[in-house]
């Protein structure tokens, strides 16, 4: 089989692309070589597109018999050095959590695209609902950190997927892309940059070099600072041929139980210590804002419009957008909300998963107003109404 790398990148230019396809193309640009999945509405276009495209780049798209087999195939592919991913929706995610937890333990890099639909259970299959936001944070038994992206346009689905793959290589924890039934099916113009530009952004999977026999060490041998070693590539010279899915020491082999705390520290602190580098946020008209909207994903776009309309009426309101939802940037949020008159959190779910996180880090005297929406998008007027209410 030819390596087909010539077809990895689309010709640079503008394309009218569906969200799910833009995400798949972002993955291919990152060097995706394996997709394991089981089709589920509303994520099906991802596997459809990759079934056609992956063979063109010398990769493999494998439709497995179910979700559990899919995620295990993804882990296997990643362990032998392929950039790998899966895409599913809520019911698939809940089936896959067992392996996600195991992957977090072994620190296997992979990207997980969750095209969210309305739950619980089977729910309404074709409508959007950001109801997996909480599940992604706690996807599996045990303690581990995850990183989750919340794109809001087709261009971002392309760009942030590249970032997601880079994070997977760097931080070796479960990486989620939180899309939804609506975003996955929007068509927008996606600007594909030249391949040289994309390659500058991509972190490749490379065989770890042997640094005095301490190839997988978590401690810099000179400074003793915590660091994250490169991912294993099973079958290469220095990689242990047997990967133990139990807490491991710095060489990737089983460690004594009494060192569990140290292992936990490695697993959790690799994300928490780097939160400033990992967490991506965006601010809109926040400088003089008295009312602050905190949101992520598609509701941010309705919020832009609501803020512009409110500003015309003289209301000082701005947006703090979470591009990465997890890890929750609590220090940044703490700073942003100082002195706020009120905080509005529009979310496409009923309970307000992120609103609860905001509550956790905000003074009790600042009111937090949830604007829930289920199975449909926020209309800008929904958010404008909430702004006007608190501005009274």
């Amino acid at each position: 089989m030819s390596n087909g790398n010539g077809k990895r990148f689309l010709k640079p230019g503008k394309y009218l692309m569906m969200g799910n396809v833009a995400m798949a193309e972002g993955a291919l640009s990152s060097g995706l070589k394996f997709f394991g999945g089981y089709p589920i509405t509303p994520s099906t276009e991802v596997i459809e597109h990759l079934a056609k495209r992956l063979p063109e780049v010398g990769g493999c798209c494998m439709q497995m018999e179910d979700e559990l087999a899919s995620i295990n195939a993804v882990m296997g592919a990643s362990l032998v050095g392929a950039k790998a991913m899966t895409a599913t929706s809520g019911p698939g995610l809940s089936l896959m959590t067992e392996t996600i937890s195991m992957a977090a333990n072994i620190e296997i890099p992979f990207v997980f695209c969750d095209v969210q639909r309305c739950g619980p259970g089977t729910g309404f299959v074709t409508v959007p609902h950001h109801n997996d936001v909480g599940l992604t944070r706690f996807a599996g038994n045990g303690e581990f950190e995850v990183i989750a992206f919340a794109p809001m346009s087709c261009q971002e689905l392309f760009d942030l997927t590249i970032t997601a793959f880079n994070y997977a290589e760097t931080y070796r924890c479960p990486i989620f892309i939180l899309s939804d039934a609506y975003l996955g099916h929007i068509h927008e113009v996606v600007n594909i940059p030249p391949k040289e530009e994309i390659l500058k952004r991509v972190i490749d999977r490379t065989i770890p070099e042997d640094t005095k026999g301490a190839k997988f060490t978590y401690e810099d041998i000179n400074t003793h600072k915590l660091m994250i070693p490169k991912p294993y590539i099973v079958g290469t010279e220095f990689c242990p041929p047997l990967i133990i899915h139990l807490p491991h020491n710095q060489d990737g082999v089983l460690m004594p139980e009494e060192n569990s705390l140290r292992f936990m520290k490695i697993m959790i602190d690799k994300i928490r210590d780097n939160i400033d580098k990992i967490s991506l946020t965006e601010e809109y008209k926040l400088d003089d804002a008295e009312i602050i909207i905190i949101s992520y994903g598609l509701p941010v776009r309705a919020s832009y419009r609501a803020v512009d309309l409110a500003r015309k009426k003289g209301i000082k309101v701005g947006i703090f957008r979470l591009i990465t939802v997890w890890p929750f940037p609590k220090e940044k949020v703490k700073k942003v909300v100082v002195g706020a008159k009120a905080i509005i959190v529009p979310e496409m779910n009923y309970t307000g998963v992120i609103a609860e996180q905001v509550e956790r880090v905000t003074d009790l005297n600042i009111p937090i107003i949830k604007v829930p929406k289920v199975a449909t998008l926020h209309h800008p007027d929904d958010i404008l109404k909430a702004i006007e209410e608190v501005a009274k």
Binding site: T126, I186, E188, L298, H379
Partner: protein, 199 residues
Amino acid sequence: MNRYEIRIVGYGGQGIITLSKMIAYASGICEELLVTQTEAYGAQARGGRSWAEVVVDLDRESKQIDYPKALKPYDLLVILSDAATKEVKKEVIKKEENTGLLIWDSSTILGKFRAASKMKNLGLPIQKMALEKFGNIVYGNAILFGIFTVVTKIFSEESAIETLKQFVPGSTLEKNMEAFKFGKQKAEEFLTQLKEGMS
């Protein structure tokens, strides 16, 4: 930001979603304007009520379209089925002189369509004309696309033709081009009448 709001409603199989993608392609790729297309997603593809929406930002300075769905009142509303007439009320269409238009298919809307008379509207037996003139109702899409090109002026005729070439199978291009020109001609007649009516 200068949003142009388009909504097309009918039933599955009429080519509503294809038409919306053609509008998005001509505006977004050929004219390099910001554009967002959204569509009914579900069993509608196999029949039943279907819809698609396109938002085009006519302001070239804009960086992004904020809200991705079309907002009421619309600049252009296309109604292609009886059931869809229910959503036509005078407040859902803009009343400005240069925009706000209802296009409807008088060969698929059989009942009385009183709401249409309360606004600027163009009613044509699009499916019937497609069948009689070009032999298949699928050419209704190209007729509509021709009408669309003339009445909205968002994209040029060249852009529209380039889009047609992208979307229709090569063997049917010639007939589609004829249907497109026919639609354009009908729209031009309509605009002339409108002008005369106003003066």
